[in-house]
């Protein structure tokens, strides 16, 4: 595992080199003050201090609307897959980790999803260790951490004067060697400083008890808490759409004249129509079943099925729920 160092002052040079290879998305502050992954020629130095982005980067791998097929005169054709490289710089470790969950469904599943696979293949993720966790964060309880590089190709840790860069995958190794001339070797001091910073961030994160969640949720399937908790649910898709691991989708056809396309778009299990049969029967008829499904899917079914929690503790669903629901409350109530 290669470990390197780059001074903050050389970051622009690094981004410049990446831009020669493909599209580069890096954190930038918008007019309203929000920091988002933005593809812009950066005049200002890259933003290194920020809370996590409002939107998770999952749309880079599973676009919200994606053409699966095109139609012409009754014939279906595969759209051409993108082949240019994309670099995502500054993804937080929780969001990088979410990619491992998505990989379980879209890469390891039989058959793999060719569209996801291609975007995953052409995209390099350079994560930036988190120094500013929020009160809604609980990554450390779901197997992650502010300095966890799993899911990323390179993990960067911001130091006083440098970034420590650690290759996580062969793709990351290749990337670091391709810009070796910009990098210095990591020193013991740098590694220690990184550890200290990550540790400091870790200490800010309040734990949530999710050990053995699958078993506890199995036991809690008929708990009255589902009814109580779901009373406030408005049935919108905010939690799912902002969630870095939620991946359910709909497929619809669009046609005009003899041309058209088959599109997949994000969908959400909180919507009543999600499971509605053509016959009018609905297996999950009320918010109770739908809210339970969302929690069960993340903390039990995914564990039973794919051996992985489908929650990375980013807290987006908690911060953005219009009814201020907090899934940690339910997990606590169920002792899950």
């Amino acid at each position: 595992m290669t470990e390197k160092r780059i001074p903050h002052t050389d970051l622009d040079g690094l981004l410049g080199r990446l831009r020669e290879r493909g599209a580069v998305y890096a954190p930038a502050r918008d007019d309203a003050g929000d920091v988002a992954l933005t593809q812009a020629p950066l005049d200002d130095p890259m933003v290194l201090e920020y809370r996590n982005f409002r939107l998770s980067p999952k749309a880079f791998f599973l676009p919200q609307s994606q053409t699966l097929l095109t139609f012409c005169d009754g014939e279906a054709h595969e759209p051409s897959l993108p082949d240019g490289e994309t670099f995502l710089v500054g993804v937080r470790p929780c969001d990088a980790k979410a990619l491992l969950a998505l990989d379980k469904v879209f890469l390891d599943g039989d058959p793999p999803d060719p569209y996801y696979a291609r975007l995953r293949e052409t995209t390099t993720v350079i994560a930036l260790a988190c120094t500013r966790p929020m009160s809604s964060c609980f990554c450390t309880s779901v197997g992650g951490g502010p300095g966890d590089g799993a899911g990323a190709d390179v993990l960067a840790v911001g130091l006083e004067a440098d970034l420590l860069l650690r290759a996580q995958t062969p793709k990351g190794e290749e990337l670091l060697s391709s810009v070796a001339d910009l990098l210095a070797d990591a020193t013991d001091d740098a590694v220690k400083e990184a550890e200290k910073r990550v540790g400091a961030a870790e200490s800010l994160i309040a734990p949530v008890e999710v050990d053995n969640s699958a078993q506890r949720l199995r036991d809690g399937y008929d708990s009255p808490c589902w009814e109580t908790a779901s009373q406030t649910c408005l049935g919108c898709g905010t939690c799912s759409f902002l969630c870095p691991t939620c991946h359910c989708f709909d497929i619809t056809d669009e046609l005009r004249g003899t041309r058209g396309r088959r599109v997949r778009t994000w969908d959400c299990c909180a919507y009543p129509l999600f499971t509605l049969h053509g016959s009018g029967h609905n297996p999950r008829p009320s918010p109770k079943e739908r809210w339970r499904q969302r929690i069960m899917h993340k903390f039990r079914y995914a564990v039973e099925n794919l051996d992985r929690l489908f929650c990375v503790g980013c807290g987006r669903c908690i911060r953005n729920c219009p009814a201020s629901m907090d899934l940690r409350t339910v997990l606590r109530e169920l002792g899950a």
């Binding site: 879209f106 056809d253 969908d267």
Partner: protein, 280 residues
């Protein structure tokens, strides 16, 4: 490179057969445009496929034909929703896309050497027809014991595959009993719900597996009757219907608990179903 799982095999609707009096159930006979597709499309009764009309959408349907019927695929479709209304309006000759075969078939290995009790209700008889055709094929018949079929519909006019039913009733090697909820003046066979006929026939549970497909209400009562007759939960095999989109375990729509109906099903034993949430 592996075939894009979202890309359907091009096929053509060869023939459209109206199955019932209400004219809302039709059987579509499909022929692949490329004979190679027919080879790749290697299915077993119990499996389903996604059919699509370009621009009109896609929907999953149980395959009504047996792999022993090599020249075509059959799908029997009731007009209920968006896609089914579209497909009911097309004529023979229309291009159609087929993705599949998908899902787990009936457990043919377990069924070998067993007596089979096949219980169907109404429109859900489609994959059971595929199973019967498969069993009755001379190459397969000797692999199974006795075959008892119980098939019911609301009225005589609602029974599907009428010609075949008549043929099966006339031939050896299979015992077919029909029933209708409401008889008309020409009906000479059993009248009453499926469970009443099941109660009258009292099939033995000994070395017997049951395949059950039908509307939820029929299934509920049938399971009770089967328990009374001494059938164990792992001897009862059911097929579920769920709303589906991708058919390949990605879109998350057909989950029942940790199972995907599209991949882990649609065929489950009653024993397996008992471990799942009742969200179907």
């Amino acid at each position: 490179m592996a075939r894009n799982p979202y890309l359907p095999y091009p096929a053509r609707i060869d023939e459209v057969i109206v199955e019932n009096e209400a004219r809302d159930i039709k059987t579509f006979r499909l022929v692949f445009e490329d004979p190679k597709s027919a080879v790749e499309f290697d299915h077993l009764p119990g499996q389903f496929a996604e059919l699509s009309l370009p621009g009109m959408g896609e929907a999953p349907f149980g395959i009504a034909s047996s792999p022993t019927e090599t020249d075509y695929l059959l799908f029997t479709i009731k007009r209920v929703g968006l896609f089914t209304t579209e497909i009911h309006s097309v004529e023979a000759g229309t291009a159609i896309g087929v993705r599949g075969p998908m899902g787990r078939p009936f457990p043919w290995d377990t069924m070998a050497g067993k007596n089979l009790l096949i219980i169907g209700g109404g429109f859900a008889f489609t994959t059971l027809r595929a199973a019967i055709k498969y069993i009755l094929d001379p190459a397969n018949r000797s692999r199974f014991g006795s075959i008892l079929v119980i098939y019911g519909a609301r009225t005589p006019g609602e029974l599907m595959y009428k010609d075949e039913l008549t043929e099966w009733q006339a031939r050896d090697g299979i015992d077919v009993h029909l029933t209708v909820d409401h008889a008309d003046e020409h009906w000479t066979q059993h009248e009453g719900v499926v469970t009443s006929l099941l109660g009258a026939l009292k099939p033995s549970a000994d070395n017997t597996l049951v395949l059950v497909c039908g509307p939820p209400i029929m299934i509920r009562f049938t399971l009770v009757s089967l328990a009374t007759l001494g059938f164990s939960e792992d001897a009862i095999i059911l097929s579920l219907e769920m709303r589906m989109k991708c058919g390949i375990g990605k879109c998350g729509r057909c989950n029942i608990g940790s199972k995907y109906v599209c991949k882990d099903g649609p065929v489950f034993t009653y024993q397996e179903l008992r471990t799942l949430p009742t969200e179907y």
